[in-house]
């Protein structure tokens, strides 16, 4: 095989899909690299599943092109495309055993019986499912069904595996196990994954690249850490759990610094890593865990320090989600911080106490819309 590392595994060019009432996908372009896990992240109804179904060939695009391995596949029927789909509800055939389910695709390709047997054996080993061959889907657990759905698609050795939130229905513990499992299998087989989800934690945990989608459009495509630390828009910041978002008017201060006067009248400083032009800046976001909480009487001359009163504390195990109402501000603005559990046990950090919140300007993320 020639070196085709530089050819994207999947490429979407200006994809558009309209439904009678709405536009589901609006001008979506993206590239998925060979061998990576690419997540399409967004709230339900944002068009992510439609995008996935267009790649699989189960829906046809109204405009734009779908390329798999550099070839336009718009007109190729799903059963001839070299990509497979793991359905949200898994879609295991209820009238077939585990073995028959996995063999289904191979039989359609007229693979010899002995080869099928061998491949199924390998797959079941890989999935830690040996001994389940003769069971029916109704007789196995949720996590096992998951693996079988995965095996059924992977046994065909597709160029790309499309996954439509297959973990959504599982409980937290099994979901976490399977995330790790998924990553291991993907690394082992080197197959490209295209993963659609509405759960930002899953996306952060398994992806090499995340694309955030909103109302049919892509808002940002970047590696997980970048999406988390420097979300580009208010929507993404909110979606990624940066609950502290300030809108306001920005001005440049010096070379690399931004001074934002928020709608509530706060003055917030931020470090402009990406040299975003000031007229495009519409706000600033801060993750709750990046904010320090100091005793109310401490003196701080650092940037971004504000006085506030603790009004709510919700225990979360490793931290306490604390709501602090800022003092001397209009419109009763509050900030959410993650307070260290140890600290939260001290008397100066209890409900009703006045505290000082502060964060570094490097932790202020600049938002544009």
């Amino acid at each position: 095989m020639e070196n085709n590392e530089h050819i994207p595994c999947v490429e979407l060019k200006k994809l558009v899909k309209r439904f009678p009432e709405t536009v589901a996908v609006e001008n979506v372009s993206l590239k998925v690299k060979q061998g990576e896990v690419f997540s399409l992240l967004g709230p339900s109804g944002c068009g992510k599943t439609t995008t996935l179904r267009i790649i699989a060939g189960l829906e046809t695009a109204d405009e734009g092109e779908v390329l798999i391995d550099g070839q336009v596949v718009n007109k190729i029927p799903p059963y001839r495309r070299n990509c497979n789909l793991v359905f949200q509800n898994l879609a295991l055939f209820p009238h077939m055993t585990v073995e028959e389910n996995i063999a289904y695709g191979l039989e359609r390709r007229k693979t010899p019986k002995t080869e099928i047997k061998e491949k199924i054996g390998k797959m079941l080993d890989l999935m830690h499912l040996a001994g389940m061959e003769k069971r029916y889907p109704a007789q196995i657990s949720g996590g096992q069904k998951q693996r079988i759905a995965l095996a059924r698609s992977l046994v065909l050795e597709p160029k790309i595996l499309l996954l439509d939130e297959p973990l959504a229905s599982l409980d937290r513990k099994i979901r976490k196990e399977l995330q790790v499992e998924l990553r291991r299998i993907q690394k082992e087989l080197g197959i490209t994954f295209f993963y659609v989800t509405h759960d930002q934690r899953v996306a952060l945990a398994i992806s090499d690249t995340i694309a955030v989608m909103r109302a049919g459009r892509l808002e940002q495509i970047a590696p997980p850490d970048e999406i988390y630390d420097t979300p580009r828009t208010k929507f993404i910041a909110d979606f990624m759990g940066a609950t502290n978002i300030f809108s306001g008017r920005a001005a440049l201060k010096g070379d690399r610094e931004v001074r934002l006067e928020s709608d509530e009248g706060l003055v917030i400083f931020a470090f402009n890593h990406k040299n975003i032009p000031v007229e495009k800046i519409t706000g600033i976001s801060v993750h709750p865990e990046r904010i320090h909480v100091l005793a109310g009487d401490s003196k701080s001359r650092a940037d971004n320090s504000f006085k506030g009163k603790i009004v709510e504390m919700v225990y979360q195990g490793d931290f306490v989600e604390t709501k602090i109402l800022l003092l001397n501000v209009e419109n009763s603005r509050s900030i959410i911080v993650h307070l260290n559990t140890k600290l939260s046990q001290k008397s100066q950090f209890s409900i009703g106490k006045v505290v000082l919140v502060q964060w570094d300007k490097e932790n202020s993320n600049i938002l544009q819309d």
Partner: protein, 296 residues
Amino acid sequence: MANGRVRKFLTKKLNLSAFPVVGPISIWILLFVLMPLAVIFIISFLGRDIKGSIVPSFSLDNYRLLFSEGSEYAKSILRSILFAFATNAACLIIGYPMAYWIVKYGGKIKPFLLLLVIVPSWSCYVVRIYALKQLIGYPGIINNFLLNIGLVSSPIEILYTPHAVILGLIYIWLPFMVLPIYASLEGIDPSLLEASVDLGATPAERFLTITLPLSKGGIFGGTILTFIPAFGDWIVPLLLGGNKVWMAGTYIAHYFIVMGDLPLGSSMTVFLTTAIVLMIYICIKLGGEQAIERIL
């Protein structure tokens, strides 16, 4: 100790609190379904005199008579089985595509298309048989028309042939095949069909490996609903078959109503029921629990 066990039996096992709701039907079914069936079962093993009256002594004569050489009843049983199979097969061949088409292309008017299938079955069935008779008999609409335009010189004989009886049975019982198949097709999760295509199945393969096996319950449910009534039908052969092609049911009616011969009528009925129970058993074995669910 024993007292506690009795109380436990009464409250837990027998659960008397259920009696107000299931009591009425239990009594009703016992009195007006099980008892009557038991009575004819017993009568079928009683003797009869020449006039067909009951003689209170155990005897297998009725059954011996039914299957004696050249017995018309024995022939009619075979005929019933044959006709019922033919009806069933034809209903399946017409009914499956109808149900499939309604589910696949029915869109918003699915309920209406289904109603169009059901409505005829909700009108008096004697009238429907008569409609068919008017159409195929002589003087009949088709024959009058063909004679008028000179396509045939003498009326074609359809009425009072086995074909007419089978046609009538299909006509009457077809809707009962469409309904359960429709229900089972409608119940198939569309993502299963997509999954099969995604895994490389062509449309034909998808139908054979997914749709057909998953509608098995509907097929056997429909078979129960068409085979059994066709097997036991007696009006269709009477009206469309004339005197020539009586089915088992026609004999039963004849013996009960016209001859008043209860022992013989009872033994015919018992035999017919046994055959039916066997058939249902086979259908459930082949079609699974689903077959039963689909007909309810």
